[in-house]
Point group: C2
């Protein structure tokens, strides 16, 4: 079997994306035992940094050892008991994922839907909350399948008013776009590592507040193999029904991350090194500066794509800054274009799912992949590839417009001195008016 061979790639998908070399280096550190004080310190530091990135004062923030959907499932496991009403506003594939998980857990799932490419008016969701009186509302913040972003603050307020728990899939947004856990009254938020945090896939960082913690307390069970009968440590009988999963049981995982360090699973040592380093990089850059960098790259990319003669997909009023969806021009083979980009240029962009499969390209500008240099490379490569496929792409204009846009954002940044950088939407309106 040959040595591991990895070609250099420019990854401009909605994840997994490129990882900062510092994160790769952290991962190559030797193993520490899971109860080694040096390791539990790393756990604690990671928890502290996660709270800053989630913009929360919650007591708990830690990763589940699985990919992002494991984190989503863990949170839903914690909150849902057989027959509970769960409301899921769906506007893309990952909304259906929440439906899927909740259904398998035995919830009575109420689905409201919006066409792919749009999001909900907050009031539509509030009306549905009033109507269904759900125990849990589960919603996607950044829907990568369609490149849309759902505003959450009004939904947060309504959930609090009607006593529902609000669970948010912020897998695509945390680290790249503002996610205000506390200000928006989000009860539980799940992030992704392989997106705007630029850490390899395999962990699901999450946070939850006291309301969720109380539910966990009521459903907690300690594994029989950990009872120390001689010390009389038979745990109190729990009040709530048991959480259906042992692996994704946040009540136990919390005890492992808490001061009692009660053994649950074996923490994924090297992945935790990676997450710690990824979070350090986020905080060194600063959240505000990081969000600005993501909006700058989005602006450069979208200006270039438009100048090339391509149409962006979806409602611009709710565009997700870190994923740009482009309509595949009529008569162009979407797969063939992606194939050429990868094999001739070493650049990866994504297809979509379900009804949008083959109809749009999804271009990610996330984390370490979100660099001007990547955007310029992609625009050149895409222009040439489209021409090869018979579409009259204006590559020269695309690159000129992108460079122009890059200079514009620099000027704004200087003017704002890092303060109120305008939103993508505002930027586009502004430019349209110029």
């Amino acid at each position: 079997m040959k040595d591991l061979t990895v070609a250099p790639r420019i990854i401009m998908t909605p994840g997994p994306v490129e990882v900062d070399p510092r994160v790769l280096r952290a991962m190559s550190s030797p193993i520490l035992g899971q109860f080694d004080p040096l390791f539990t310190e790393i756990m604690q530091e990671t928890m502290n940094m996660l709270k800053l990135v989630f913009q929360t004062n919650n007591r708990w923030a830690y990763p589940v050892d699985g990919t992002s959907r494991a984190g989503l499932e863990a949170v839903l496991h914690a909150l849902i008991e057989q027959g509970d009403v769960v409301l899921v506003p769906v506007f893309g594939r990952f909304g259906y994922l929440l439906v899927e998980i909740a259904t398998r857990l035995g919830a009575e799932v109420k689905v409201i839907e919006r066409p792919w490419g749009t999001v909900f008016e907050p009031d539509e969701v509030v009306q549905a909350i009033r109507k269904f009186r759900p125990k849990v509302v589960a919603v996607v913040h950044g829907e990568t399948s369609t490149g849309r972003m759902q505003p959450l603050a009004d939904i947060g307020r309504a959930c609090r008013e009607y006593g529902a728990y609000l669970v948010v899939d912020a897998v695509a947004t945390v680290g790249g776009v503002e996610v205000r856990t506390d200000d928006w009254l989000l009860d539980a938020v799940v992030a992704g590592t392989q997106k705007c945090l630029s850490v390899p896939a395999g962990l699901a960082p999450l946070t939850y507040n006291e309301r969720v913690e109380r539910v966990l307390e009521s459903r907690k069970r300690v594994e029989r193999g950990l009872w120390n009968l001689e010390e009389g440590a038979v745990p109190d009988a729990p009040r709530g029904s048991p959480i259906l999963s042992n692996y994704l049981d946040l009540a136990q995982i919390q005890d492992y991350w808490g001061p009692s360090r009660l053994n649950h699973h074996t923490e994924a040592t090297s992945m935790l090194y990676a997450l710690r380093e990824g979070l350090r990089l986020v905080l060194e850059e600063g959240l505000e500066a990081r969000f600005r960098r993501h909006r700058q790259c989005e602006f450069i990319l979208t200006e270039g794509l438009r100048a090339m003669g391509l149409a962006l997909f979806g409602d611009p009023g709710c565009k997700l800054p870190v994923v740009t969806c482009v309509e595949v021009p009529p008569g162009i083979d979407s797969q063939s274009v992606r194939h050429m980009l990868l094999h001739e240029f070493g650049i990866e962009i994504a297809d979509s799912f379900g009804p949008l499969k083959g109809r749009i390209w999804r271009i990610g500008t996330m984390g370490y992949s979100c660099r001007k240099q990547n955007v310029f490379a992609l625009l050149g490569a895409l222009g040439a590839t489209l021409r090869w496929h018979g579409f009259p792409a204006d590559t020269a204009s695309a690159l000129a417009a992108a460079l122009h846009a890059a200079k514009k954002t620099e000027a704004w940044e200087d003017a704002a001195q890092g303060a109120a950088f305008p939103s993508s939407q505002r930027i586009r309106e502004h430019l349209a008016g110029v």
Copy 2:
């Protein structure tokens, strides 16, 4: 926040253990997209190597992206439906883990127990199968909490005879001790990465045969967000009840690892690089040679411990070669000894759980940590530490005996020319007779 700082450690616990530098290096390779042909090739190569390590001709062998217990839970999820009878022979903590998982899944769990430190006579299990007629028998092969190993071949035959599925927790044994998936008629086997495979924790490699695959087929559901309605790809209505977990749904994960590459989660890129390299190292060494190395280190260690004046815990007839349990001498503070080993010598050994907490030390000789040099270092350190704590450890004799044992095993190896290396038990009997 300071740079990640990891002290050099000699890790002689039952996992996580030290990782070969080649594995650490593989992990520092840049990310590939999950559908990049270079990456799917890595998936395929890993699958092929896993089959060799599991000694199976099964069609399926791949990791679940979670720690070992995620793999166990996934297999039990696949096989168990509400109310199914599941038999679990328990002889330590990890037997209870299987009970725990099956109970949460709604199974009617039948438990038979043996005192910690022993295993079952195969016939006891066969009798129980006859009595309870379980759909699933779930059993631990290498019980790390007590350092015992359960023979499986007779249980495999009985399960086939009575139509039960046999699920095996081989988390501690695969890569260090013989595990013959096909010969022993094991229907599903779950391995651990952070034990004898010497890869960081975070993946659960598993394999299952056609019998299990048929169950998966009958319970399969495709996520709604992946349906392409225009292509008329609404999936067939499944016959079995849905698998309760979406994340741990092997029917979907199999489709992701199979030729259709249907997207489920995002594969944990860097961890897969690590697993691939770890498996390459196993196959380069050769399974037989690797098992011999583990028995050699066990022999050296146990000879040294005895000469030091310590008693081994448990029935020697079923000792797990890769974990050696030592009784804490009366009056000695188990924690304090472990603390001194870690902080003065940089060596980690483990406590145990539940009834054995504080009563035994567990010393692992697994994977890359299983090196003569580690065993000698531990014996010296433990001898000095015990003396410091007031126990009259004979350190000099321990090291002399260990060196003597090392030379003996070399001579045997030369004589056997790598063939029939005697079992640990046989070695001890042999030496006793000399």
